[in-house]
């Protein structure tokens, strides 16, 4: 039963994905190789198009680039090798995932730096500490700081109704 349900759902979603522009004749026989090729298509820019990867582009050069990638895969080159070959031929511009070089350090690591700095600031924010239960606070037990805040809130309320 579960198996039938799964198959049904699988049919519902469709299980294989072929890029929009890839012709049926371009599909590689080995599904693993095809999946790899497809992942690479999506990382490679069609160099004459406007912000399109070669998986989506129907330009002739995109078809040529796809064929090259398939040939490289068939020759047993790794993804890294293929990226390197493409970079050497077309320049950094061809890869949608910029290579990590000194020039692109900030691009890759600035978000991480922002996260770390933000995290440190978050940890060092003024905190409410102590183990007193929040329920049993009476006005007399408010700290001077909290009293000041209460005062501020009350004046604020008079502002609000003005």
């Amino acid at each position: 039963m579960t198996r039938r349900l799964l198959i049904l759902l699988a049919l519902l979603f469709g299980l294989t994905q072929v890029a929009a522009a890839v012709l049926p004749s371009e599909i590689m026989a080995d599904p693993d190789q095809e999946a790899r090729a497809h992942r690479l298509y999506r990382e490679v820019r069609c160099v004459v198009c406007q912000n399109e990867n070669i998986a989506a582009s129907s330009a002739d050069i995109a078809a040529d680039m796809r064929r090259d990638i398939r040939l490289h895969i068939r020759d047993g080159l790794s993804d890294g090798d293929i990226r390197e070959i493409l970079r050497n031929r077309y320049g950094d511009y061809v890869l949608f995932r910029p290579a990590l070089t000194p020039a692109t350090l900030a691009l890759w690591f600035l978000p991480v730096v922002v996260l770390i700095i933000g995290g440190v600031i978050f940890i060092r924010l003024p905190r409410k500490t102590g183990i007193t239960a929040p329920d049993d606070l009476s006005p007399e037990e408010l700290s001077p700081e909290e009293l000041a805040r209460l005062e501020a809130l009350l004046t604020d309320d008079t502002n609000r109704s003005s």
Partner: protein
């Protein structure tokens, strides 16, 4: 001229054949009105400045009237532009370049903002109208704050009307007058795109109000909870417009560009996404500031940032730095002027912030486990995501400018930077709504959420199981998407259950509680469910779309998954301003005919360009999507390239943002947030 003096009395002649007579003076009146708006803005700024001096105290009151008059003047100017487009007055250069007598009425109207000049006038119109709205709805604001807000808004108005008037006047005349116009880029002749720019601009420029509020409060030195309450509705309104505008633009890309993609991480898309992210962060931090008087400096920073990104978007798109269908003004001088406006405005805002931020008292304190803390973390993560989008957009531009080396930043980069940050934010989301202010207990909240967590893990497991024959990466992506989407939706429903005490008290009581929940809470739950649905749709569509393409002759068929796509015929049809080949496609499944589709390939003679008109078969959740490509000749006769796509769950990608916008709208209708309610209540 004298013979046509009737037009000057405001009775526009629309007699055919009167080439320059159509509205002999309308364009000049429009230019004059724009000039008037500029002068009124400058006067308003001077009045507010003068009002700060002892000797002239009180004159700043006049700025309110000026604000309304400036809005009226710029509306007249825009009306003149619309008139020129409606009557196809080709003596106006902008109309000649972007319109055509045969163009349908809707696109004549939308042509008014389909060019750089026209869209700048639209920008000014919205900017000054927001100024007028501050006057109309801001009665409850303290006088000093209101006048300063109006002053800053007028300063922005003066800069943008000045820019439009002196460098991009849409009403400039053309000599000699051409007999026919060049028409609008056919790609832009589409209902979705007719409304995309106004919605987007209502959002972009809406952030100007928030910016003005921030600058005014920094000058005043008074930033308190009431400020957050005043700013929130404006932020919400702008955010709703921006959400709708981006969704509409994305929907346009989906069916107009012809291969079913809906988001490309294109710099132009990012330019509209960055203000949206900043506004989303601002909405959340303003809640903390309003309720708990904390996060002041951060909230004001975001308020300044949102409009800075709006202006940066305008600069990127309008300056020709980027090449795309949006970048029609490839004129470096205008780009530099826009850049100067951007630097002056943002520079002044952030300098002021630098001077004043230190003196902002940090308000309420809270424990590490509290709703405040969850919202702060949400802000941090959205900000990290914003940083990555900003870097991905600007880095290639800066790097090319400085080193001459071109790089591309695309989807793989954002999958590694933007997506994880937002993913973690979504993991936190259900906790934030359930945690108590000041100090919450994780154990209690976790007990409330454990069922939602279990269900979303189950959903993710099904998602991964379905992809057993795909690569691990795809399974991972589907699994994570199901987990996050399910978690956000179920967590939001759990919050609703908690608030209404569903399953614990009688149904009538639940209903009473449901109705008495603040609209803002309803809005929040709806918007979060919308986000979850969007994630589900996005992840399913991207990872499991099917496609099939081939050159086939009439009578032949393609196979697309379980569907058979048959090309029945290709006819020649004539549209209002184009000729087209229209294919008749019949889609069958095992159970019979599913639908008929009519994709077209249009040839626009006016601009000599070809567009493909996609045909969609809407199913409840998914789309079948057909494109008629180039014709080809072979020994077997005439062939047509037919492309068929099956986009599962694509509906959710656009329905989700719609729900988010609806949630924003509900929240905007909340009585507590409405400006002027207090004042009205007192009068009654």
């Amino acid at each position: 001229m004298a013979a046509r003096s009737d037009t000057a009395k405001g009775r526009p002649a629309t007699v055919r054949g009167e080439r320059i007579g159509g509205g002999a003076m309308m364009a000049e009146l429009g230019t004059f009105a724009l000039g008037l708006a500029f002068v009124l803005c400058v006067a308003q700024v001077l009045l507010v400045l003068a009002g700060q001096l002892r000797a002239f105290r009180g004159v700043e009151r006049l700025s309110e009237g000026l604000s309304l008059s400036a809005a009226l003047a710029v509306s007249l100017s825009f009306a003149a532009l619309l008139h020129a487009f409606l009557t196809s007055d080709f003596s106006v250069a902008n109309v000649a370049h972007n319109s055509h007598t045969l163009k349908p009425l809707l696109y004549k109207i939308s042509g008014a903002w389909g060019s750089h000049e026209g869209s700048m006038l639209l920008w000014c119109l919205i900017l000054l109208c927001y100024g007028a709205l501050i006057v109309l709805f801001g009665r409850s604001l303290p006088d000093s704050l209101r006048h300063k807000v109006l002053g800053v808004q007028a300063l922005l108005g003066a800069m943008f009307t000045g820019f439009t008037l002196f460098s991009s006047n849409p009403l400039a005349r053309l000599d000699p007058v051409p007999f026919e116009g060049n028409s609008l880029n056919p790609m832009l002749q589409d209902p979705a795109l007719a409304f995309h720019p106004p919605l987007l601009y209502l959002g972009y420029v809406g952030m100007s109000v928030v910016f003005s509020f921030a600058v005014a409060a920094l000058i005043d030195g008074r930033l308190d909870r009431s400020w957050a309450r005043w700013v929130r509705p404006w932020t919400l309104a702008a955010w709703v417009f921006l959400t709708l505008g981006i969704a509409l633009g994305s929907f346009w890309a989906y069916y107009e560009l012809g291969w079913g993609g809906w988001w490309f991480w294109d710099p132009v898309e990012n330019a509209s996404f960055m203000p949206w992210l900043a506004a989303t962060a601002l909405l959340h931090s303003a809640i903390v500031m309003e309720k708990r008087d904390a996060l002041k400096a951060w909230t004001v920073f975001l308020a300044l940032l949102a409009f800075t990104f709006s202006m940066m978007g305008a600069f990127l798109v309008r300056s020709g730095v980027l090449t795309s269908v949006h970048a029609f003004a490839v004129d470096p001088q205008r780009g530099i002027l826009l850049l100067i406006i951007l630097f002056v405005t943002a520079g002044a805002g952030f300098t002021l912030y630098g001077l004043r931020a230190g003196s902002l008292s940090s308000g309420g304190v809270f424990a590490s486990i509290s709703r405040e803390a969850a919202l702060v973390l949400n802000n941090l993560l959205i900000f990290v995501a914003l940083t990555s989008v900003c870097l991905g957009t600007l880095y290639p531009l800066l790097m090319e400018a400085m080193t001459g080396k071109a790089i591309s930043v695309g989807e793989p980069y954002y999958l590694l930077s933007f997506v994880p940050a937002m993913g973690v934010a979504m993991l936190l989301l259900p906790f934030a709504g359930l945690l108590a202010w000041k100090r919450g207990t994780l154990g209690v909240v976790w007990k409330q959420l454990v069922l939602a967590a279990a269900l979303s893990v189950l959903l993710a497991a099904i998602g991964v199981a379905l992809t057993h024959d795909l690569t691990g990466l795809k399974g991972l992506s589907l699994g994570t998407g199901f987990l996050l989407g399910g978690w956000v939706i179920l967590g939001s429903l759990r919050l609703l259950i908690e608030r209404t005490q569903m399953f614990r008290v009688p149904a009538a009581e639940v209903w009473r509680r449901f109705r008495s929940l603040p609209l803002a809470t309803h809005g929040m739950i709806l918007a979060h469910i919308g986000l979850g649905l969007f994630v589900l749709g996005a992840v399913v569509e991207t990872n499991t779309r099917l496609s099939s393409v081939d050159n086939i002759a009439v009578g032949q068929a393609l196979t697309l998954g379980a569907y058979r796509v048959e090309l029945k015929a290709v006819d020649q049809v004539e549209g209002p301003n184009y000729d087209a080949d229209r294919a008749q496609i019949t889609v069958r499944s095992a159970r019979g005919v599913v639908c008929e589709a009519r994709p077209e390939r249009r040839f626009y003679a006016a601009s000599g360009s070809v567009t493909t008109e996609v045909a969609l078969c809407f199913k409840p959740l998914s789309d079948l999507y057909f494109v008629l490509g180039e014709p080809a000749l072979s020994e077997k006769g005439q062939l047509w390239q037919v492309r068929a796509l099956y986009n599962p769950w694509a509906r959710l990608i656009f329905f989700g943002p719609l729900l988010m916008a609806l949630g924003g709208l509900l929240s905007l209708c909340d009585r507590r947030l409405r400006l002027g309610v207090a004042a009205k209540g007192k009068k009654a």
